[in-house]
Symmetry: C3
Subunit: 663 residues, 3 copies
């Protein structure tokens, strides 16, 4: 395997962290799980591996505050000093994702409660109810104490607040959450009339006459008001974000100049709306884990990285966690094959990451994650995994000049967590509707075509893109509708698949025929949905095959590009194209595979002036980072055959190369 | 499509509702979900569609009683007057299926509770615990107020009590239910000794020494006493029926002369024993929804209609709800294809319905059912669905002369909700036992053979039938046993399949060898059950294939008509026939498909003198309604080929015709 | 069917029960379910069947103590006297598996509670929380009263304490259990530091600062500390055993000389560690039920019998319950075919049982088990099942001379309930890991090869065996590791499959590379686990096919016997052999079928000097019991073809024979 290494730092050289001009490399470090003598071994091996940043203290609350209000920092002092003296920077965790046993014993009412009313016990991991006053007070105390003690320590380079907000605790049905929900609703709607209108409480006779009548949407006799459930999801996101802000503000006050992050799980934590979080963190960081048994998991990785980069919106971002090999919580935790951890890491680098960190430094011998891989596995420093880790550290070290460069995309996929939440509620027209799967399908097509893609909120600026794709984006607000129309009117190309633009932000069907938010831009109405029976595809005139869904389309300006030959809508339009202002809007009323989309999207690519990469390089990933006229292009060969790049460079099967172009 | 329309009203002309001689046509109407200006549009379009009856107020409790004891009828006054002035009759709902938010906030103990002890929250739909005193008081108040205000309003033609009793609330494990259960038991059994005997409490040492020791059969360490569970199901039916009676009696007192109904869900609400309800309502009404993905759902519809007609027992009945197209709560909510809503409607008419109504008039924009179809869909009045609705209204209008005519059948299937309840309890000999599937199989055979079928309670008069079928009727009481024996002795033909007549009304095995209730009439005993392994059919001498089940039969008078060639009972009898008095009793000890039953039933048909329709017309439904010498025969072609009727009339694929014969 | 019957009693003739020299034959008897006149019929038919022992009173608490502290023994006096006068011995049950209704009404806090916090109701069967003080007091009272009354009754030959401890009640999360768990932990660990260390509470910040902070491992936000869960399983076993000891000690005191047993469910009750129970009972007894739909259920039966015999460790044991035909709690409760109950019974006899009893004498007409077969079924005394029962009674009567003889084995499989518990916790490397399935596979191979096998605890004496097999034995303590090493060093042959020896008794990974407990004896380390994707087998050099799992093996002394051709570990060792001291240790790093193991184990058999039986007799079971130079060899032909034994005797398909050899 070869990597062409850039030799000088282009641009300003200012890195993603104050005073840093290297790519961060390291992982979660839990010295508290090991005897003191192991620590020295850790330092020695970290240095061998080129580790320059470790995250510590994430689960250390009870060690730092063994009894309520009594602190013990001695061991952490020693760890931080040891790391510092070894030149390893510290990403210091606030331990609020795992309150101590004494907390739970003293404040049982702080326990999160399920929809069914089951209070969740201790002995696992996870925060208290996000709305618990006792939790707020306790977290304020421990974070203040930490910030006071280490806020100015020269080793502390980054604050790592909490851990993966939303997992495993998000919605909680405890009393404090109900009370906070009511307050949040009162702030959002001001009047009960407004709330009753937004929630459509005339349906099933649910009108509220007092704020105190409103409960969390707990398990009921049958389906609960979807608008209420959507708002409870929003409230939960708000409550979690308040927890973050509480800690961040303390850290900003007591540890000025040190950036604060919390690790996102971009596509795996649907209970958090990261669009509302991205601007609250100083640096966006993300945790990513492969779905081991999927053979396209490198494509899903790219999706995750692109989404994280999109959240960062031009600012730096880092990969806070991934794994060197197997995880331990999937059905079959396949190991990563030789070379795979390098490719995974370079994929993140290629898509903009300025840090590549792992969960975890040293594998645990006990607890729920003892079968999770690590940089230093149970098999120790002679193992393949540690050897690959060391090699990766060296390679990333040589890529330091790329720090500060950025990825640019001319294609975007609309992404809205609120739409995920709304669509996942009960009683949708078909269980085959799956927003995530549709996004993956379109993203896979773009990835295979070598097109770098951003993700963008439907209400955000779209003007920098040539092509915007909305794969089954169920919820489109009135603002988003205007935004999309403006984008197309100005010359953009828009591609939407079925079940897009159906409801507004209250999960209320837009007035009139479907799809209310897109009728005008698409130049059609959908008279009726036509979900297909299980495993019953339909034929199209073009020879393509649709599955899962059809629509009864009434063309109102759009032209039919492809039509149904059989199925419930036989004879009707299946794929349409509409001219709208200076641009064009496409509609795909049935479900295509990524393979089939290659043909279906030819016209949309042409409208947008977007060009697919050469078929010969399918499976060879290419992404560029640029800064100050310098371009770093990463090529990663995910196939089992050698590939010859346009430059003539040969990248062997499984290998990767980063090419610098100063032109 | 063509319909031969009768021109004059035969017989007395007295319709199913006082003063009505037309087929009711309309649906649920929820004007409260829409601004006032939409109401006028509704009236205009209802008139265009020929709507003559709408159901209103079903979910309006909180609008009528916004605070406990304070009423606001102004809006409803206006709605009723508007409808009345347009000549549209009102089916006025009592809103007790959805108590207001203030009720739940004030009476949390009224919440239904699951077997696991989870109290069910508000925000959905559904009544309080059927035994809740607070609910009883609140419903009495609102129903009294409604009846006082509208009991004599000329528009009010029918009272629609509650909505679909038993769904989604039936069994409740709250304290009030436990108390009521004890009282019900004391009334049923008088002494604890009688209860202990009926429940077989010597098994597993469950003998009760005090009524207060008896609990609802909540989740336990393992299987709960089946007799107790069966009685709790009976109690639940009783408690729900008491709720209905409470409302009905108020309405009868305050709104004399106006009939009272509540909408059944004949085959979809197994928690209610409609045999005990049918005589309590003034008019039987039913809700029916297709299982969209089943290709034989028109046969299931016929089954439902026949069961509803059987409940009405010669009295008029109406279809209170069905759908114009897709529903929203099935896995894949397929739309109805063009012509399908007409065929569905005419099937109900053919089988005796004097009203064809829909849920719902106008599609909701919000709430849990916003993707449920309507007479007036989101796509509005230009839509296919609305056009078909209008056409249907006209066609039904022309069928008015058939009002008052009745369907007669010479074949009956035994149907007992108690047997369903008992068989569905745990620890039966095989999970392949499915009373419902067996009924569907026999019914399908009869439908395919063009034989109109009644459903009848096993203890009811059977003397009017030539052939009575008991498909896996697990529970047969001693009274029912005598009834069946008398039927056969008098010359009837009886066909029973396996696992019939096993237990008595306490779920206690009849004394002696299986099947205790049928040994004599069948002329055999079953020495042992022989459930088959999964997907392991057996061969019969005749070439037929059995599945799921076999019996070790000891012939005691019966003759073997077909025998097992392989499987656990190889060499033994599989199908038997016994002469009993003047009649014959058949036993099918394995599971046949409806297709196979064609051969198997030849002998039973012959015994009964029942004749199957011509094979050429399979899939073409034919049912007759008669009154005063006039016969209305509906022919519905469910196939994809044209059909020529015996009269020479050609009914094209998908079409239907109603032929009048005054001979 | 023929049985060569031994004619004289070899050896001392002292039977398994004081004063008994026959094989016990009978079953559970519940006269309380029947009118008095039926009892006489029972006695007559028991005598006809040769019944000599029945178990009574198991579910009779409420009849014996109808009100708290008030006793009624009259009916039981009569039953016992009736049996005694008929020469039928009594196995008298203590009825503590089913406390009376008055108990539950008065002590609701004694109800067992699920992990989710649901208290389990009455109306089923099952004990109170094992830690409930009220239950302890109530059981002490009833057992004392029983023992005082019947402790010296000449009919009472055996005490049957409780029923199937652990089913259906094992872990309970009630308050008394939590309190008892803390006390048990304090006794086990003495200090909190020791507990924190054992549980690895530095992981996820779970360190305990007070005993009162420790809860039962109830449902939490995500996975709960596995060491805590493992200890809670141990505690539960302890709490159940304490319940048994409490009763046994009373019986020993008040009924001296009468042995006490409780019926085990050797392989079906994973919540109880029978190694800790075996020495607490005077006689080991077991309940066994076929998994009806498995075609190899006679092999599983043998496994169960061998495990039971291993628990008895050279002492007598009896089969307390099995079924004459179908049970009622499996998905499809297939009946036993003619001859099958005899074969099942003789299998138990062959593997050492001195008693063959059934659940149950007479089939119940009511309750949850009314479809469970019996010696006397619903069909009565003319039935096939009763006739086979009578024949079996006679045959067993003639086998009396074998009483006291013992089975010897030179091959053992390691079996540890703690390893089952630990492996079944969440977040293991693959859902394909299944200790039970692996044991069945190896056992089946040995059974097919005609090799009688013991089961043995990993810390027990192995020196009497030539070959010891550890099929995926995840948990191996340090003591067990030393034990295994000593066995091999002394010349034994050891065969281990993948995922063996991973963790110690705290579920903590052994220090260093995998498999920590076996690195030395196997002469290798496993650098990484290689779980396979679903349904993705791998090829080996030998032509064998592996599935589910692979390992990255680093040979450190062992030789590679077979290697991977493809899959994640292509080129690496798959099967290895290591010389260790005077013995050899084999490692199988992938999953083989029992069929494939025939080839794989050839070398290990050779190392151990173990010889497989002739291929021609595959499916013909052969097991010997010996005493005082006399050998009783049972041959059972499970195939569908006749078999000629080495002696020349022909055993027809489905038949069995017991041959005596006095040589």
């Amino acid at each position: 395997m070869t990597t062409t290494q850039p030799e000088t730092i282009p641009g300003t050289g200012s890195g993603w962290l104050p005073g840093t001009s290297t790519i961060a490399f390291g992982g979660d470090y839990n010295p508290e799980q090991w005897p003191r003598e192991v620590w020295d071994d850790d330092i020695r091996l970290m240095r061998e591996a080129g580790v320059n940043l470790v995250s510590i203290g994430i689960f250390s609350w009870v060690l730092l505050e063994p009894r309520e209000g009594e602190f013990d920092f001695a061991w952490l002092d020693e760890v931080i000093d040891l790391l510092h003296s070894a030149g390893i920077a510290v990403d210091l965790g606030t331990p609020t994702a795992s309150p101590p046993a004494w907390f739970w014993a003293k404040y049982p009412e702080a326990r999160p409660v399920t929809r069914d009313g089951v209070p969740l016990g201790f002995g696992s991991r996870g925060m208290a109810s996000p709305s618990s006053p006792a939790y707020a007070e306790a977290t304020t105390r421990i974070v203040t104490a930490l910030a006071e003690r280490y806020g100015s320590h020269p080793a502390v380079t980054l604050w790592h607040v909490h851990n993966e907000y939303g997992a495993p605790i998000s919605e909680s049905y405890d009393e404090a959450s109900v009370a906070a929900f009511r307050l949040w609703l009162a702030a959002r709607y001001t009047t009960l009339d407004a709330l009753n209108s937004a929630w459509g409480t005339t349906f099933w006779g649910q009108r509220y006459g007092a704020w105190s009548e409103i409960d969390a949407p707990r398990t009921a006799a049958t389906v609960v008001n979807p608008s209420q459930r959507l708002d409870f999801a929003r409230f939960t996101n708000h409550a979690l974000l308040e927890c973050f802000r509480r800690e961040r503000d303390i850290l900003h006050r007591l540890s000025p100049g040190i950036p604060v992050t919390t690790n996102f799980m971009a596509t795996n934590c649907p209970s958090v709306d990261y669009w509302t979080w991205a601007n609250e963190v100083d640096i966006v960081s993300n945790d990513h884990y492969l779905v081991a048994e999927r053979t396209d998991n490198h494509v899903l990785l790219a999706l995750d990285a692109d989404l994280t980069r999109s959240l960062a919106a031009g600012r730096p971002w880092i990969l806070m966690e991934h794994s060197t090999s197997a995880v331990n919580w999937q059905p079959r935790n396949l190991r990563k094959q030789p070379g795979e951890l390098r490719r995974n890491s370079l994929q993140h680098f290629a898509r903009g990451a300025d840090g590549i960190l792992f969960f975890q430094w040293r594998a645990s011998r006990y607890g729920a994650e003892k079968f999770h891989s690590a940089m230093l596995p149970h098999a120790g420093e002679t193992s393949r995994v540690f050897r690959e880790t060391v090699a990766l550290g060296a390679e990333l070290g040589a890529l330091a000049p790329a720090v500060g460069s950025r990825v640019h995309a001319s294609v975007a996929i609309l992404w809205d967590w609120e739409s995920f939440w709304a669509q996942d509620l009960e009683w949708r027209p078909s269980v085959e509707l799956a927003h995530r799967r549709q996004i993956e399908t379109f993203y896979t097509r773009l990835w295979e075509d070598g097109i770098t893609t951003d993700f963008v909120h439907p209400e955000a600026d779209l003007s920098t893109y040539d092509l915007v794709v909305a794969p089954s984006l169920y919820l489109i607000s009135t603002t988003a509708r205007t935004n999309i129309e403006a984008f197309v009117a100005a010359g953009g190309t828009f591609v939407s698949s079925y079940f897009t633009g159906i409801v507004d932000s209250h999960d209320t069907v837009h007035d009139g025929a479907m799809p209310g938010a897109l009728r005008d831009v698409l130049g059609l109405t959908v008279e009726e949905f036509g979900p297909l029976p299980q495993d019953t595809p339909v034929q199209l005139s073009s020879g393509a095959v649709g599955s899962r869904w059809t629509d009864a389309i009434l063309l109102q300006g759009a032209e039919s590009i492809d039509a149904y030959v059989d199925g419930p809508m036989a004879g009707g339009a299946a794929v349409t194209r509409n001219s709208f202002g200076a641009g064009h809007a496409w509609y795909l009323s049935t479900d295509f595979t990524a393979e089939q989309l290659a043909d279906v999207l030819v016209g949309a690519y042409a409208d947008a002036g977007v060009e697919a990469g050469p078929v010969a390089l399918r499976g060879v990933e290419r992404v560029s980072r640029r800064a100050d006229g310098v371009t770093f292009t990463t090529w990663i060969n995910h196939t089992d055959r050698d590939a010859t790049l346009p430059t003539g460079t040969v990248v062997t099967a499984g290998d990767a190369v980063v090419l610098r172009d100063d032109a």
